[in-house]
């Protein structure tokens, strides 16, 4: 499933992606975004851009606003102020046809959110038929193709409850892909999985990245961010503290908040920390 092993090492694969084609609007553009829940201000002025074909990983401690930022992009959360453009269309415009905008944005949730009353195949065909108006045959054909892509051809008639967490999440990715999105949002896609099931999901995401899909990924998987992301954004306290290449942000962070977050993650291999230091912060 990991296609990068067949081709060149990771850095070359990244370079071959059509990053930020000139003349086109960026995939996502966020300007001065603020979001409050009551008196609690979760996002306090976010500006950032994701180019077409780019893979951006958002990291940061829990409560830093990463998921809220992601959910503002397809307006599952209503921004308090600021502007968000997706492929040049203003998502935050009150008059925008939000259902139409969302068709182009695939979203993958931490808790999968498959429809439990439908089989894997029906999970993929129902949205295609009801939202895109595809015919029965075409929807089934696309659905089978996407299920094959995530390696679950043999599970098409299984109900979500009969699948493992990793399989459910891959069906959820396939469901989003069946809508032919231009952009994929991942909200901690592996956080609810048992450790041994994380690999399959990450492999699917990696192959998507290799195919040039624009991806915005909120994650705690530092090795994934380091290997797959074109850019890493570190958020803390509702602001972007630091952003740059994975080598910069994860390998050699310049801000103390980034450093302390990475050392707390206890991922010495990814953070490039000595074992002593990792052990020292464990207590």
């Amino acid at each position: 499933m990991d296609k990068s092993s067949e081709t060149d090492p990771a850095p070359d694969v990244k370079a071959s992606r059509p990053t930020g084609a000139s003349g086109e609007a960026p995939a996502i553009e966020v300007r001065a975004l603020r979001k409050s829940f009551g008196s609690l201000e979760v996002l306090t002025g976010i500006d950032f851009t994701v180019a077409r074909g780019e893979v951006v990983c958002v990291i940061g401690p829990s409560g830093s606003g990463k998921s809220t930022l992601l959910r503002c992009v397809n307006r599952l959360e209503e921004p308090t102020s600021g502007t968000i453009l997706v492929a040049g269309a203003e998502v935050t415009d009150p008059d925008v046809d939000i259902d139409k905008v969302r068709r182009g944005i695939g979203m993958v949730f931490q808790s999968f959110n498959l429809f439990p009353h439908l089989t894997a195949l029906q999970n993929l065909t129902l949205p295609q038929r009801r939202v895109l108006g595809r015919g029965k045959e075409e929807a089934a054909r696309v659905a089978r193709e996407r299920l094959a892509r995530v390696g679950l051809t043999d599970k098409e008639s299984s109900y979500p409850a009969q699948l493992s967490g990793g399989q459910q999440q891959r069906v959820a990715i396939a469901r989003a892909l069946a809508m032919d999105p231009e952009l994929m949002l991942f909200d901690e896609p592996t956080s609810a999985l048992d450790p041994e099931l994380v690999g399959d999901v990450l492999a699917v995401m990696r192959s998507l990245a290799d195919e040039g899909m624009t991806m915005l990924v909120v994650t705690h998987e530092m090795s994934f961010a380091r290997e797959v992301a074109d850019r890493v954004v570190f958020m803390d306290g509702g602001v972007i503290v630091e952003e740059g290449s994975p080598a910069q942000v994860i390998g050699d962070p310049s801000h103390s908040r980034t450093k302390s977050f990475l050392s707390r993650l206890l991922d010495p291999a990814a953070a490039g920390l000595s074992e002593d230091r990792a052990r020292g912060t464990k207590e």
């Binding site: 397809n74 139409k100 979203m107 498959l114 429809f115 439990p116 009353h117 809508m179």
Partner: protein
């Protein structure tokens, strides 16, 4: 007298059995079994009730119940959605409706629809329609609250997933939320069906023709003709034929829901 705790428990248990045995024996002794059998289970009278009690009365009870249940479920779903509406007046209307029809005896609704409406508006309503409306209007109030609870029990992530795929609020409700809500409330809805089965006996108020008789009215008529309780007993058993399997179904559905959690 010193008894161990276990001995004392055994003595108390024995006394309880003894009291029960004495009471049962006394009743058996005092009762006139021939009289009781004549009153409650006169074989000739019982035979005379068949097949009409099945082909007419039982069938009509089922028809009345299903008509009322179908209409009540549709209206109940509408009321549940109104109750959850973003538009306050819809919510208020639904609350007023639910509170009114839950608080008023079904008997009054039957009288109002069967006699009040035809008198006041000078219209003749088909008997079956009257039954459907009367049972449905009352049933809807209960079912609306059940369905609302079911809709609210579907996790928020389901709506979010549906919306993120580009479904409108209404489409998400129809294709994703309501099918799951109905599964959740299947046991309480089946209970509602049992209650409606029994409430359908109120139809007797409406003055039915022979072919419209349902179980309760049939039993009462046969009681007058035969001066025997037998028809009532048989009618009661016929209700059990309907409600016991439904009750069994509810328990199985509840067990299934409990396993799925």
């Amino acid at each position: 007298m010193s008894m161990t705790r276990r001995q004392r428990t055994r003595v108390i248990r024995s006394v309880q059995y003894a009291v029960l045995a004495v009471v049962v024996l006394a009743i058996a002794q005092a009762a006139d079994w021939g009289e009781i059998q004549r009153a409650f289970f006169d074989v000739e009278v019982a035979k005379a009730q068949f097949p009409d009690i099945i082909t007419t009365a039982l069938v009509n009870t089922v028809i009345y119940t299903l008509l009322g249940f179908g209409f009540g479920l549709a209206l109940g779903l509408l009321l549940a959605l109104m109750r959850l509406s973003q538009v306050p007046p819809y919510r208020w209307l639904a609350i007023v409706y639910i509170e009114f029809f839950r608080g008023v005896p079904a008997l009054l609704v039957f009288i109002a629809l069967g006699f009040g409406v035809p008198l006041a508006f000078q219209v003749a309503i088909n008997q079956y329609v009257t039954v459907m409306l009367a049972l449905g209007l009352v049933g809807a109030a209960y079912m609306a609250e059940t369905l609302r609870a079911g809709i609210q029990a579907v996790p928020k992530g389901q709506t979010e997933a549906a919306r993120s795929l580009g479904m409108s609020q209404g489409r998400a409700m129809v294709s994703i939320i309501i099918p799951q809500a109905l599964r959740i409330v299947l046991p309480p809805l089946t209970n509602e069906l049992i209650l409606l089965t029994k409430d359908s006996s109120l139809v007797y108020l409406l003055g039915l023709s022979l072919s419209q008789y349902e179980l309760a009215k049939f039993g009462r008529d046969a009681l007058n003709q035969n001066r025997s309780l037998t028809p009532i007993l048989i009618a009661g058993l016929c209700y059990l034929v309907i409600t016991l399997p439904l009750g069994h179904l509810v328990r199985r559905l509840e067990a299934r829901t409990a396993r799925a959690r």
